[in-house]
C-alpha cells in the first residue's frame, strides 16, 4: 500500500469516526403517540429534537382502535411510545408486543405513560362489572381534553424524553415553558369566553368531556349512552329527551366517530342541537393542534350555550 493510499484510508477512517457521533447527535428522537392529542403535545415539548407520529387519527374511537401491522412498524422504529393509560389505549400493548422493540416493552426506557400524577375523575368507588358497560375501573381516561392538565402531561413527556436524551433536558424544559405560557394566554381567553355560560347543562353522547366540562364550569346533565360503550336503549333515549325538554338543555355533544345521526334525531325531538366537537386533535376540520382543538370546542360551546 502506497503512502498516499494509506493517508487516504486514514482520512476516511477519521472522517467516519467524526461523522458517526455527529450523525447520532443530529438524529431526532423518534416518538410514537397512541392518540393525536399526545402527538401534538409531544411536538410542542420536543420541538425540532423529535419526530412524532400517531397510531390513530382524531376521527377514530380510541377505545376500539384496530391493531394494524403498520402500527407495529412505526413502533419498531421508535425510540419512545407515549401512551394515555387508564385503559383508553390498552390495544397499544398488542401493537408494542408485535413490534419486537425491546425498549418499548412494559417497564422499558422508551415507554412514557402520561397519566402519572393526573387527578383522575369518575373513579368507581364500588365494585364494577360489565353489566355497567365499558366502565374504566381506573377512572375516566379522557383527561387530555382538559387544558388545565397540560402541565402534568407535558412534564411526564419531558421526563420521558430526558430519559432518552438527557443532554436535551434543558431544551425540552424550555419548549414546555414556552408552550405552557402560550396555553396560559389562551386559557385566560377561554375562561373569559365561557364565563357567561358557566353552570350551563349539556348532554353528551359518550362520557368523553367530563374533564373539559369540569374545567370550564359546565355540567354534564346526561349521556345518550345509558351505559358507556353500549348503544343506547330506546327507553333511555325517551328519558333523555324528556330531561332535555324539562331542563331546557340546548346542546348535545357528539364525537365524529359516534352515531351523529342518532344524536341529531334526539336533538331534533328534544328541541336542542347536536354539535360534533373536537373530541381529539384532528377530530374536526381546523382542530389540527392541541390548542386549536380546545379552541374549537370552547368557541362552539360558548356560542351554542348563549
Amino acid at each position: 500500500m502506497s503512502t498516499r493510499t494509506r493517508l487516504f484510508v486514514l482520512l476516511v477512517a477519521l472522517a467516519a469516526l467524526v461523522a458517526v457521533p455527529s450523525a447520532q447527535a443530529a438524529r431526532k428522537l423518534r416518538v410514537v403517540a397512541t392518540i393525536p392529542d399526545l402527538k401534538s403535545l409531544a411536538e410542542a415539548v420536543g420541538g425540532d429534537l423529535v419526530e412524532v407520529d400517531s397510531l390513530t387519527r382524531g376521527t377514530q374511537n380510541f377505545h376500539e382502535a384496530e391493531v394494524r401491522p403498520s402500527m407495529m412498524l412505526k413502533l419498531r422504529r421508535a425510540d419512545a411510545v407515549i401512551e394515555n393509560g387508564l385503559g383508553l389505549d390498552a390495544w397499544a400493548d398488542v401493537a408494542i408486543t408485535g413490534s419486537n422493540n425491546a425498549d418499548l416493552m412494559a417497564g422499558g426506557r422508551g415507554r412514557i405513560d402520561i397519566s402519572r400524577g393526573i387527578q383522575v375523575l369518575e373513579v368507581p368507588t364500588t365494585r364494577v362489572d360489565r353489566s355497567m358497560g365499558d366502565v374504566h375501573p381506573q377512572g375516566n381516561p379522557h383527561f387530555s381534553l382538559d387544558p388545565g392538565l397540560a402541565p402534568v402531561i407535558t412534564q411526564n413527556i419531558v421526563d420521558g424524553f430526558a430519559r432518552l436524551a438527557p443532554e436535551h433536558r434543558a431544551a425540552f424544559e424550555q419548549n414546555r415553558k414556552s408552550f405552557l405560557a402560550k396555553l396560559d394566554g389562551r386559557m385566560a381567553e377561554w375562561t373569559k369566553l365561557m364565563e357567561p355560560v358557566k353552570g350551563s347543562k349539556v348532554v353528551v353522547f359518550h362520557p368523553v368531556y367530563i374533564y373539559f366540562l369540569t374545567r370550564f364550569g359546565l355540567v354534564q346533565a346526561a349521556a345518550l349512552e345509558d351505559r358507556p360503550g353500549i348503544p343506547p336503549s330506546p327507553q333511555h333515549l325517551v328519558n333523555v329527551i324528556r330531561q332535555i325538554k324539562e331542563e331546557r338543555i340546548k346542546v348535545i355533544l357528539v364525537e365524529p366517530w359516534n352515531d351523529v345521526k342518532l344524536a341529531n334525531r334526539v336533538a331534533e325531538e328534544a328541541g336542542a342541537k347536536a354539535f360534533v366537537v373536537a373530541s381529539a386533535v384532528g377530530a374536526v376540520k381546523g382542530a389540527d393542534s392541541y390548542i386549536a382543538a380546545i379552541d374549537y370546542t370552547v368557541n362552539t360551546l360558548a356560542q351554542a350555550l348563549r
Partner: protein, 443 residues
C-alpha cells in the same frame, strides 16, 4: 500611693474571671441554641417522615374522585376488606360481598389478567349424516354442546418476558366425560436485541392467520375445511420454539418467523421427535392501501416427518383485506382467503370468505371451501352463509347454514348402518361469551 499586693491579686483575678464568666454564659447560650435547633431539626425530620408516609399511602391508594358526576355504578356499602379496623361482631353478622377478583386486582394484588371464554354450538343435520358421523362436528351431530370453555391467564412475567396459559375443556363425544386440556402454555422473551423475539412452549402455530385463533375467536362457526382436513379438528398446535424478527429498515412491515417443534400433529406429521423436528417458517407483510383499506399477505411452510418417516412439506398462503370507513367502529367489508398445498401428496385446499358489517351489532357473510384430501383420493366443497349478532363486544350469537358435497364416500359412510355424509346440510347456532380480560387481536 502604694497598692497592696493582695489587692492587685484580687483585681487580676476579678479581671480574669469576668471575661471567663461572660464566655461561659455565651457558651451556654450557644449550646442552648444548638440544642434548640437540633430539637427543631428532629421535629422537621419527624414532620418530613410523617408527610412522606402519608404521600406513600396516598400514592398506594386509588385517587379520590372529585366532586364530578359519578359514573353509573351501583352504590354499595364499603366492604369489610377495605377497612383496617378489626371487625366487630355486628360487622361479622352483616352480609358481605362475595370474594371478588376485581377487588383483588384493584388493590394491585393480582399481577396478571384472567379471562374465560365460553363457546357453545348447536347443530342440526340429516339423519344419514348423523349415522355416518360425517358432519362438521363429527360424532356430535344433532346436539347442542359446549365446544370450548377456556380459561386464560396472561401477563408480564418480569421485565423480560410475557407468559400465557390457556386451559380448555369441551364435549368431544355425546355424554362422554369432558377432559381438561392444556390448550396453550408459553413464554415470550420480549427484550431480545435487533427486533427479535423468542416464544417457547406449547402454542397455536403461526401457520396462516386463522390457525393462530381459538375457535371462539374465528369469524365463522367452524374451522375452515382446509385446516380441518390437513391438520385435524384442533388445527396445528405444537410444542417447541418459535423466533420472530421484524426488520426496521424496510419501508413496509415484514415479520419473518422460524420455528422448531416436536411434530406431534397426527393428521399431518406425527413423528413427535426433536431429532427429526417439524420446522416451520412464515413471512407476513402488510400494505396500507389507503387510510381505510389494508391488505395483509402471508406465506407459510411446515415440514416434518410422519410416523412412517415420510417427509411431508406443506406450504400455505393467506390474504386478508379490510375496508373500514373513516370513523367507523367496525370494518364494513372483510375479505379473506387461505390455502394449503402438500408438496408430498400434491394435494391442495383453500377457502375464500367475505363479510359485510353495515351495523355495529350485525354482520353477514359467507365462506366457500374447496379441498382435496391429503391421504385419500377425492375432494369436498362447501358453502356457508351466516349472520352474527353482537349485543356487546363480549357476547355474540351466530346462525349459519352449511352445504357440503364430497366426491367420494367417507370410510365412515361404509359402516353398514345406512349412513352417508356425501351430501350434508347443516344448520349451526353458536353462542359465545367472554368473561374478564381478553387480549386484542392484531388486524
Amino acid at each position: 500611693m502604694r497598692v497592696p499586693g493582695s489587692l492587685v491579686v484580687v483585681l487580676l483575678i476579678a479581671l480574669g474571671v469576668v471575661p471567663a464568666a461572660a464566655q461561659t454564659t455565651e457558651t451556654e447560650a450557644l449550646r442552648r441554641e444548638i440544642e434548640q435547633l437540633r430539637r427543631q431539626q428532629e421535629q422537621y425530620q419527624k414532620t418530613i417522615d410523617a408527610l412522606a408516609e402519608r404521600l406513600k399511602k396516598l400514592e398506594a391508594a386509588p385517587a379520590p374522585a372529585p366532586a364530578a358526576p359519578a359514573p353509573p355504578v351501583a352504590q354499595a356499602p364499603s366492604t369489610p376488606s377495605s377497612q383496617t379496623a378489626p371487625l366487630s361482631p355486628a360487622d361479622l353478622a352483616r352480609p358481605r360481598q362475595p370474594f371478588s377478583l376485581y377487588q383483588q386486582r384493584g388493590s394491585g394484588q393480582l399481577l396478571f389478567d384472567i379471562g374465560i371464554a365460553g363457546d357453545f354450538v348447536g347443530n342440526l343435520t340429516q339423519r344419514n349424516v348423523e349415522k355416518a358421523g360425517g358432519g362438521t362436528f363429527s360424532g356430535r351431530e344433532n346436539r347442542f354442546f359446549p365446544r370450548e370453555v377456556e380459561v386464560g391467564f396472561f401477563g408480564q412475567i418480569d421485565p423480560y418476558a410475557r407468559g400465557e396459559v390457556r386451559i380448555e375443556t369441551g364435549e368431544d363425544e355425546p355424554g362422554g366425560e369432558m377432559r381438561v386440556n392444556l390448550a396453550e402454555a408459553h413464554l415470550t422473551l420480549v427484550t431480545l436485541p435487533y427486533g427479535t423475539q423468542l416464544k417457547l412452549g406449547q402454542m397455536r402455530n403461526r401457520f396462516g392467520w386463522s390457525n393462530q385463533f381459538h375457535v371462539h375467536d374465528l369469524p365463522w362457526v367452524d374451522v375452515p375445511d382446509v385446516y380441518r382436513v390437513f391438520f385435524g379438528e384442533e388445527g396445528l398446535v405444537e410444542k417447541g420454539v418459535e423466533a420472530t424478527w421484524v426488520p426496521d429498515f424496510l419501508p413496509f412491515y415484514v415479520q419473518v418467523l422460524g420455528g422448531v417443534f416436536n411434530g406431534d400433529n397426527e393428521a399431518a406429521f406425527g413423528r413427535g421427535r426433536l431429532t427429526t423436528p417439524l420446522a416451520t417458517g412464515r413471512v407476513v407483510t402488510f400494505v396500507e392501501l389507503t387510510d381505510t383499506m389494508a391488505l395483509q399477505v402471508g406465506a407459510s411452510v411446515a415440514s416434518g416427518e410422519t410416523p412412517d418417516r415420510l417427509r411431508r412439506t406443506l406450504v400455505g398462503y393467506d390474504l386478508k383485506f379490510k375496508y373500514r370507513p373513516d370513523g367507523w367502529l367496525h370494518p364494513l367489508l372483510t375479505l379473506a382467503s387461505e390455502g394449503i398445498y402438500s408438496q408430498t401428496d400434491e394435494r391442495f385446499g383453500w377457502y375464500g370468505a367475505a363479510e359485510v358489517q353495515p351495523w355495529r351489532r350485525w354482520s353477514f357473510g359467507a365462506r366457500y371451501d374447496s379441498t382435496q384430501y391429503p391421504d385419500a383420493p377425492g375432494r369436498q366443497w362447501a358453502v356457508e352463509p351466516y349472520v352474527s349478532f353482537f349485543p356487546s363486544e363480549f357476547l355474540r350469537f351466530r346462525l349459519a347454514y352449511k352445504h357440503t358435497e364430497k366426491s367420494h364416500r367417507d370410510v365412515s359412510d361404509l359402516l353398514g348402518n345406512g349412513g352417508s355424509s356425501r351430501i350434508a346440510d347443516e344448520l349451526f347456532l353458536q353462542a359465545t361469551f367472554i368473561l374478564g380480560a381478553h387480549p386484542a387481536h392484531p388486524f
